[in-house]
Every structure is written in structure tokens, then in C-alpha cells.
Subunit: 252 residues, 2 copies
């Protein structure tokens, strides 16, 4: 029996299907004190009440995925639209193992955010607490649901994205020095880079950074010349890319 689409939809009963829900979770990264930090909340509600988890929540009926992720991020960072606009937000991956949430079948669409240094986190309505945790301390924390895996995937994606996109600039303010940019790479990749080579390379990639014509007011805290200031350029991809050093040749 073939009916037309209009009749079909009029007779369609969504509640006949097993209850399912979709959430967004956000792996939000920032750099504080030269260390990579991850935004976590302590859950106020069941399940996993009292546990640390990624900020996230149900997608609302009128929202698309990106809007939901943005809203969740805003709630936990306490930031309005202006400062949020400087945060990079992209979809990471979706997670849907049948038992990943004890309530019912809940799929999570994880997102990844790169934020400049922000004020301390302020818990939203469904959180008791919110903080920026140094990722180095992650091994000591239990995370709710499958959030440990999501964080691991997000960190790997972040490290990889610095290679071929200019998103490292999203961890910085609107103007920055090459040294500060290098510090972002060193922090995310967890290894020191050669200052001279890095400097020359960044300037050689078209559209990565553009000069502001100005310099810092002072040199480094322990001496050194004033550094020139740059802002993010208009490139969406780095070409040639900045590859991570010595990641064991060809991962087998």
C-alpha cells in the first residue's frame, strides 16, 4: 500500500518507536600558564551525579547540532556571544554504544572547541562545579559515561589540526607574537620546537599570519628584544603544513 507523503506523515506516530535521545558534548580546550586545559563540569543530576564530565546536554527541538554545542559551551564558560565568537567549534565524532548511558539509548555528538584564555568557568544549571583542568591531570580523574574516550579522540584531533590548519591562533588573543604561537604548538604537541626554524616557517606559509606593523611594548620578562605582533591571516589550510616532529614514521 503506497500512500502519498502527506497522508503518510499525518498517520505517522513517532511515539511508536523506542525512546532515543541525542546530546552534544564539548571537548573544550584552552591554554593557561603554558599548559593545555580541558573544561569539565561536576554533574549535579543523575546519572553520574557528582562525577566529572564534559559539558553537554540534550539537543533542543529547534536547535541544530552546532547551536546546541555552542549553547552548552556558553553555559559553562559564562561567556556571551562576543567572546564566544573567538572560540573555534567543530564537530568531532558521534558516540552511540547501546549501553553508554544508563537512562535510555542516548547518542552523543561530540564537539571540539579551541578557546583563548578565558575567565574561570562558571557552572551552569546542571552542574555543581565547573573548572579548567590541566590535561596532564586527566589520568587521575574518573569521567562519566564514555567521556574519557571522547576526550582522547578530541586531543588527538586537536594535535592533528594544528598541523594543517591555522587554528592554533584560536588559542591566542587577536594579536600575538611568533613566540606565543610557538608556545601553543609546544603545549598542544607536548614537545619543544626549534625557535628559529619555527619562526621562518610560520612566516613562509601564505595566509597563516599577517603583520600588524607593531611590536610588543616590552621584551620578555627576563630580557630580550621586543617581538613583532601578528594577527591571524585568511588561510583556512596551511600549505605547506607544519608537521609534528618525529611522530614515529608511518604509524603501523
Amino acid at each position: 500500500m503506497i500512500v502519498n507523503e502527506q497522508d503518510f506523515l499525518a498517520a505517522y506516530d513517532p511515539s511508536a518507536y523506542p525512546a532515543t535521545a541525542v546530546t552534544v558534548d564539548v571537548v573544550a580546550l584552552t591554554i593557561r600558564d603554558n599548559a593545555l586545559h580541558l573544561l569539565l563540569i561536576r554533574r549535579a543530576e543523575q546519572p553520574y551525579a557528582g562525577h566529572w564530565a564534559l559539558p553537554g546536554g540534550f539537543v533542543r527541538p529547534d536547535e541544530d547540532l552546532a547551536a546546541a554545542a555552542q549553547r552548552e559551551l556558553a553555559e559553562e564558560t559564562g561567556l556571551g556571544g562576543d567572546r564566544l565568537r573567538r572560540v573555534h567549534l567543530e564537530q568531532l565524532a558521534s558516540y552511540g554504544a547501546p549501553e553508554r548511558d544508563p537512562r535510555m539509548r542516548i547518542f552523543s555528538v561530540a564537539h571540539l572547541a579551541f578557546a583563548p584564555d578565558l575567565p574561570d568557568a562558571t557552572p551552569g544549571t546542571d552542574a555543581e562545579e565547573a573548572l579548567w583542568l590541566p590535561v596532564a591531570e586527566l589520568p587521575n580523574r574518573d569521567l562519566a559515561f564514555d567521556h574519557r574516550q571522547i576526550v582522547a579522540d578530541g586531543l588527538e584531533r586537536a594535535r592533528s589540526k594544528l598541523e594543517y590548519t591555522p587554528l592554533a591562533t584560536r588559542f591566542l588573543g587577536p594579536e600575538f607574537t611568533i613566540g606565543e604561537l610557538r608556545s601553543v604548538y609546544e603545549t598542544v604537541w607536548g614537545q619543544p620546537l626549534h625557535a628559529g626554524n619555527f619562526h621562518r616557517k610560520v612566516l613562509s606559509v601564505p595566509g597563516f599570519v599577517e603583520s600588524t606593523g607593531t611590536s610588543t611594548e616590552r621584551g620578555g620578562s627576563r630580557g630580550g628584544p621586543r617581538a613583532r605582533l601578528y594577527r591571524a591571516g585568511d588561510a583556512q589550510l596551511l600549505h605547506p603544513a607544519l608537521l609534528r616532529p618525529t611522530r614515529e614514521d608511518a604509524v603501523r
Copy 2:
């Protein structure tokens, strides 16, 4: 009022939430007659009955996302486990615009598949028809839902994946010549590559291919020497990568 997790779950009523569903859709690519083909089905059921669409369907209660995608792919390719094991399947992205499906709020987790040359497609239960369509003919087809966007994202991901992974071999049989591998790249990227340079480069990337020690029985159909045969190596990433030629330097 804080309750413990057990009590909370006992009282939890999933049906109190708006009806939501999650589907998987698969962008399945293969190469036939030196042209990139996409697996499409003609929908037997409403909505969009009679329209062409990606193979896909609801995730079942006991399935995770990858299993659902694999099942949907199996249904439309008519392949059993053995041949399916040679197909590469990965998660692509999720789509959740509020009005993307007229029935109710339906999120789709799209997947991307690279298949060797397979028999003609056989429609599953929810399809009137199934076929491998040359992607060059896509502009002439209407696709259901937001599947045009999903296909575009899948094609771009595929082109990009050939650069830094050895997945091009997944479009070929267990043994192949360097010329056949080059043909995959030329087909997916849509541009000719220099045979000599490609040859040397593929052999120089550790773990990309390994020699079988044998050669083809015959040369090319219009002459030429017999080519040596190779199989896929154990590398997961190509280092150095095979970059697409002249993609306008730094996409702005």
C-alpha cells in the same frame, strides 16, 4: 532532592521526552570502469518514496553506530561478511538540522565506505532499486533529505584521505599494480598524475605496499611490459604523504 542513581533510573520515564530517532547513512564509493561510483537506492517507503537516497536506516536497539552502518551497507550491496571485510568503513559526520526529516527529529550519523569493485547492487527491503551511480552524474539527480550535502562531505573526505592514508588500496583487489593504484588516485582526485614520479613515490613510502614477487600474466591491452604485483602494506598513515597537486595554495 537528590536521589541515588538506582532510584533515579527506576523512576526515569524516557517517553516523557520528544520523539527522536537516529539513523545511519552510508556514502559508499567504488571504482568501476575508471570512474568513481556512489551507491544509491530508490526509496520504497515514505517519506521521499521513489526518490534516490543514500542507503541507510534506523539504528537498532542493540547496535552501535558502526554495526548499523555495516548492516545497511550489506543489505544494499548484497554482500556477506567475507567480501564486506575488504570494505573500509569509517564514521563521516552527523547531521541534525531540525527539519531535515519531515517525520520527526531524526539525526543521521553518516559513514563513508571505500569498496573494491563489487557486483551490481541489490535493493534491500526498503528500496525499490539500488545502483552504483557515477559521481559525475550526481549533478543531474535529486537526492532525498540532506543527502546531497552528505555526499559532498564524503567526497571531500575521500579525496583528503587518499593523501595521508593507504586507503586507496581498499578500492582494489588483494593484489594490484602500481598503475592500478595510480588509477585510483587519478579517478578520485579527478586529475592525471605523473606515472614515473608516482611509481617511485609509492615505493618510497614505508609500509604503503609490499611486493608479492609476482607479475601480471599479460601486459596492457595495447602493449607494454608486465607489471609487478603488490599488496597493501601495514602502514596506517602515509609518511611522507601523497599530496594532491596544485590544490590552490592555502585554501582561503
